[in-house]
């Protein structure tokens, strides 16, 4: 589903990734871990083409996205659901509207959309917050809203960047169960996290980054 071949990325002078090679197969659930500043977010951003690599080839869902024309980028991104580390909720819209947006962008009809949005909000425990604005939510509630927005449209690829950083252990476990369900239904899932509870005992691959390089591949 996702393949990196010798990918490097430097932000004006700051090396963030160097010579990264890996592949996440279709339907895989892959964890990425590593110290703060190791390059986890950079790796995920390269996949949804928020940034472009200096070197190397990135293939997503069979398409090389390096040379992809701007015209095709929205389509690529619509096939991916992203839990942003910095949330990126639109402050002018309610939680319902924020989540519905992901479906509107994918062209969902207004009628079809409501039950699916409410169902997803229920899954993350935010049904009662549907009509609230993001700035009236607690940190963990905002994070769950971002998760709802990422999964509502059933993307073929789900990227989650530190999805439980603001969640208590019980809620985190609940979110992890959701991710596993989604994965079981065929979605490839890549989770960048420092939360050991998420991956220990899962039997899934864990890719450990250190200073922009793949240090180790474990199994949780």
């Amino acid at each position: 589903m996702v393949r990196f071949e010798n990918v490097s990325k430097t932000y004006d002078g700051q090396q963030a990734l160097s010579g990264v090679d890996f592949e996440a197969g279709r339907g895989e659930l892959l964890f990425i871990t590593g110290a703060s500043g190791a390059g986890k977010s950079t790796l995920l951003k390269l996949i949804y083409r928020a940034i472009r690599p200096d070197e190397g080839t990135i293939t997503v869902n069979g398409a090389a996205i390096n040379g992809m024309g701007a015209r095709h980028v929205p389509g690529l991104r619509r096939s991916i659901g992203v839990v942003f580390q910095d949330f990126r909720l639109l402050s002018g819209k309610t939680i319902y509207e924020n989540v519905a947006l992901a479906m509107r962008i994918r062209g969902a009809a207004e009628r079809a959309l409501k039950p699916q949005v409410m169902e997803t909000l229920k899954m993350v425990g935010l049904r009662h917050k549907a009509d609230c604005f993001p700035d009236t939510l607690s940190g963990g509630e905002q994070q769950r809203a971002v998760i709802a927005r990422a999964i509502v449209a059933e993307p073929v690829l789900l990227l989650a960047d530190e999805p439980t950083g603001n969640l208590d252990p019980d809620t985190s476990a609940g979110i992890m169960r959701i991710f596993k369900d989604i994965n079981a239904r065929g979605t490839t899932v890549i989770i960048a996290t420092h939360n050991r509870d998420l991956y220990t005992g899962t039997g899934r691959r864990i890719m450990r980054l250190a200073s922009g390089k793949i240090e180790r591949l474990d199994v949780g």
Partner: protein, 288 residues
């Protein structure tokens, strides 16, 4: 397409700052309206003064009919001339007596008519330059039968030139003002949307196409622009209807003022144009 209700909701959520930009656009358009009104009226007065300025040719008592006809033909063919009329000696004396009104009896002791016949030339105000008028005067003076040529008092010339200059200056000013107001309105929309570039970026990262991203901003910009235009119209109506009607008696110039009401209808349209294109420009090219 993102549903239009959410654009309205967005406007409402930030109503104070949006209201401020509506007012800003409204003030700009209102200034434009008032300026247009002033320039329009300047033009109106200028056209009223058209042909008021004249040149008089005093004729020799013994001028022959062919000489007179030739002279009249030469004058008529000059492009600066509007019309020519012949004033006989008798008409001139009658005119003088009339202008002295009650004192006309003073002329009763007069032996014969000392006043000359004359040609009264009305000049085309817009087209007659100083040089043309002087050239025409010299040309006529050289013809047989012309005793003297007298044209516009210096004072009238000055007033005329001031009004004509003010008219050009007014039009230039209006053009500059139009540019300025458009720029300020654009800049208001741009600054208003600038703080939402995060939103634009997020929508892009979520997979929205450029037009999907633009749509709510274009709707918002249009709504703000039309609202600004309506505000300016309302203020303009108040000025036309209440102020001008109420004060027309107090300040004599307002009695002559022309108030073309269709200007008011144009303002919301101008607002729509400003809001829509301002929003489009403010967003610029959306990068992926």
């Amino acid at each position: 397409m993102s549903h239009p209700g959410s654009a309205i909701a967005g406007i409402w959520k930030e109503k104070w700052i949006n209201l401020l930009s509506v007012f800003s656009i409204g003030v700009g358009l209102f200034i434009l309206l008032i300026s247009m009104l002033i320039v329009y009226n300047l033009n109106f007065f200028a056209s009223k003064l058209q042909g008021r300025f004249s040149m008089t040719v005093y004729l020799d008592d013994g001028i022959s009919a062919p000489d007179l006809a030739r002279m009249q033909g030469a004058i008529r063919s000059n492009p600066a001339v509007g019309s020519v009329s012949y004033i006989s000696k008798a008409e001139a004396l009658a005119e003088l007596k009339k202008s002295m009104k009650d004192s006309a009896y003073l002329f009763e002791g007069l032996d014969g008519n000392p006043l000359p016949a004359s040609l009264d030339i009305r000049l085309k105000r817009g087209d007659a330059t100083d040089a043309m008028v002087r050239g025409l005067a010299a040309q006529i003076k050289a013809m047989r039968g012309a005793v003297d040529v007298e044209y516009g008092a210096k004072f009238l010339d000055t007033i005329e030139s001031v009004i004509s200059g003010a008219r050009s200056a007014g039009l230039a000013f209006l053009a500059a003002l139009l540019g300025g107001v458009l720029f300020v309105c654009y800049s208001t929309v741009k600054i208003l949307f600038y703080r939402r570039r995060d939103e634009v970026e997020t929508l892009g990262l979520l997979g929205a196409t450029a037009w999907f991203i633009r749509a709510p901003f274009l709707i918002e910009g249009s709504v703000l622009g039309v609202a600004g235009g309506l505000l300016a119209s309302a203020a303009g109506y108040a000025v036309f209807d209440v102020f001008l009607a109420g004060f027309a008696g107090a300040l004599p110039v307002f009695r002559y003022m022309q108030t073309p009401v269709y200007f008011l209808g144009l303002l919301p349209l101008a607002g729509l144009f400003i809001g829509f294109s301002g929003a489009l420009m403010a967003l610029g090219r959306i990068k992926f």
